[in-house]
Symmetry: C2
Subunit: 430 residues, 2 copies
Amino acid sequence: MIDIATRVWNRQWKIDPIIRSLIDTDFYKLLMCQSVFRNNADTQVTFSLINRSKHIKLAELIDEGELREQLDHIRSLSLTRGESTWLRGNTFYGKRQMFRSDFMEWFEGLRLPPYQLEKRDGQYELTFKGAWPEVMLWEVPALAVLMELRGRAVLKGMGKFELQVLYARAMTKVWQKVEALREVPDLRIADFGTRRRHSYLWQDWCVQAMQEGLKDKFVGTSNCMIAMRRELEAIGTNAHELPMVYSALAEDDATLRDAPYKVLSDWQDEYDGNLRVILPDTYGTTGFLKDAPDWLAGWTGIRVDSGDPATGAEIAINWWKSRGEDPTQKLVIFSDGLDVQKIIELQRQFVGRVRVSFGWGTLLTNDFRGLVSNDALSPFSLVCKAVSANGKATVKLSDNPNKAMGPASEIDRYKRVFGVGEQEALDVRV
Amino acid sequence: MIDIATRVWNRQWKIDPIIRSLIDTDFYKLLMCQSVFRNNADTQVTFSLINRSKHIKLAELIDEGELREQLDHIRSLSLTRGESTWLRGNTFYGKRQMFRSDFMEWFEGLRLPPYQLEKRDGQYELTFKGAWPEVMLWEVPALAVLMELRGRAVLKGMGKFELQVLYARAMTKVWQKVEALREVPDLRIADFGTRRRHSYLWQDWCVQAMQEGLKDKFVGTSNCMIAMRRELEAIGTNAHELPMVYSALAEDDATLRDAPYKVLSDWQDEYDGNLRVILPDTYGTTGFLKDAPDWLAGWTGIRVDSGDPATGAEIAINWWKSRGEDPTQKLVIFSDGLDVQKIIELQRQFVGRVRVSFGWGTLLTNDFRGLVSNDALSPFSLVCKAVSANGKATVKLSDNPNKAMGPASEIDRYKRVFGVGEQEALDVRV
């Protein structure tokens, strides 16, 4: 029996929208947005797309019209009643009413602001300008749209069974990872793969596979829509955009030096418990921890997001010890460039010494490496970053000089202010 | 939008029937059935299930009630109007009205005869008795039911995603085979996998994958239902049951010696062209060809179904040459224990020397080797054979003594009558 109405309904779609909900985004964006909405609602920011994988000519692969249709569709979205109810009523990190009423009212009225799109040198220049709380919500959907359109471009022209086998292979790959991970004692791992996922449906599949295969070892997903639909924990804390914008707004070197701590002081007013996680690498982890105020040592954990992860965790452990804290009570979240072997290795090295947790991104939700000719579905390094705030350029250094961004003169100034010395350069894969 | 009617309808099924059509069977069964219907309609035969893989305890794996439900369901089937129309109207092997009206009228009225089912030593003794044209149609569906029930027993209790990944892995395996085969020049290959398939849906998937992946190199399927639904060529000629029953009916050694040729003489009255394919191994290929009448050398081809396939083909080539025939105009069909490497090897060895064709069975439609623990889905060697005709035991020798069957005294007699000497014993895998 064919459902005629469904077929007719399907025919009415002009496009197959990639993003179908404003909460098809990372949970930490909403946490940060609420903090920004309270403290910096009027700050004018610019977010820009940056393709670190220059060899992938996105403007040649992706039709501009299709890209505009997808982005326009996102601008047509607003929070649905059910989504709003879930955000207002759900328990996040063990807490009810995580989102304040004034924030929810603002969010319920939100439409995403306009975008600017141009082609240059085979790449898209995609820019979002406006008030920080609005513009910041573009980052994740913009990345997801570009990743998925690139995938669709590669898949176009493949046969029905060829496609089915492609997904069969990708499923097999994910499941092999799940099977390897379920042997790891005391593992705690979450999906962080929204922004560079192969597609929404694929991320949703990966999450469910983790759920079935890993049981309690799978602690949740960063994707709010999937968390809502699959009744999972929404996971996430905060990101580099906070210290980057706070720092750009700093009027002088002294204020700049204090900016990353001001971020966390504001954060502390908003969130507690497992949401008090330090992201220390924006301007170099070592300097950040050395100069950190004592109240920060009382926070729950640290997220290691660049540089050699084991080194980052050792630095954190030593810092906690130096501040009289017990590392075994502290949380270390690894979230950079993870795949199964690295996860197993880090778990072995740190289990029992700290509370270990993993935020697994691209190589969970987009490991299509080796599955089509020319490896044309291999994930690549696409980011969408705050590049300026109130007209002043932002800077990111991180613990890997290959991830540094900002004007050269400002990079030098930041290195001086934050006392960043020699850094080890590591490949940025994804 | 959920189709409520479909859900309610699905709920009404008491079982999930494995065989849903009388033409979910091999095409050659229908060709043989028509010949038997004309020449031996009243011959009483017994067909029995024989599990050559004794270590697979079918009666422990498969619930007797479920098996009876499936077999009873098959007995409730009759030819549908569309199936009858297709058999009457379709072109088979380039010919219209392959099936005579008297045969079709009989077939349209057919229900399969009763079965006897008992358990012994962990195995099922499943027997079919009655008129040859009716009983012979049990073979393929009975095998398919047992293979699929065994699979279902193994799959029971697996998680939803575990199952999806299992099929993903199996699809990947099939597609790797397709990818390897599409590089083989001048390949001609058909699906012969009905009887030992993993399931109907799986066979249907494999056939479609071959269709998309191999294009013209895929020449059709032995399964009539799939041929009809997918608009493919139905492929097949004849099988060992013909010489086995004809021989059992022989009153003396002289008639016995002539019986395998009588089969083909009757066949020649019914079919021509590419359907004139000799299956020479029932009582040893060498003796059969040596003593064959000259008119047989004029037939289109030979099917190699036991023993070392390359040796069998060389014997055929030499035989054709010895009879003044041009082997390059002759067809050799390989159909025993094939997998990709063997297919590629045989194609390389014989392309240009004869017209080569492959009938690929179990390792196309049931290669679940290595996909679950204890290899519990690995295919195994289950057959359903004519064991007696008008009360006399049948015998099969084949070119592999491990495939021989029948009472020991009769085997000795047949070996003497047909002059079978030393044979090389080969493993029977599937």
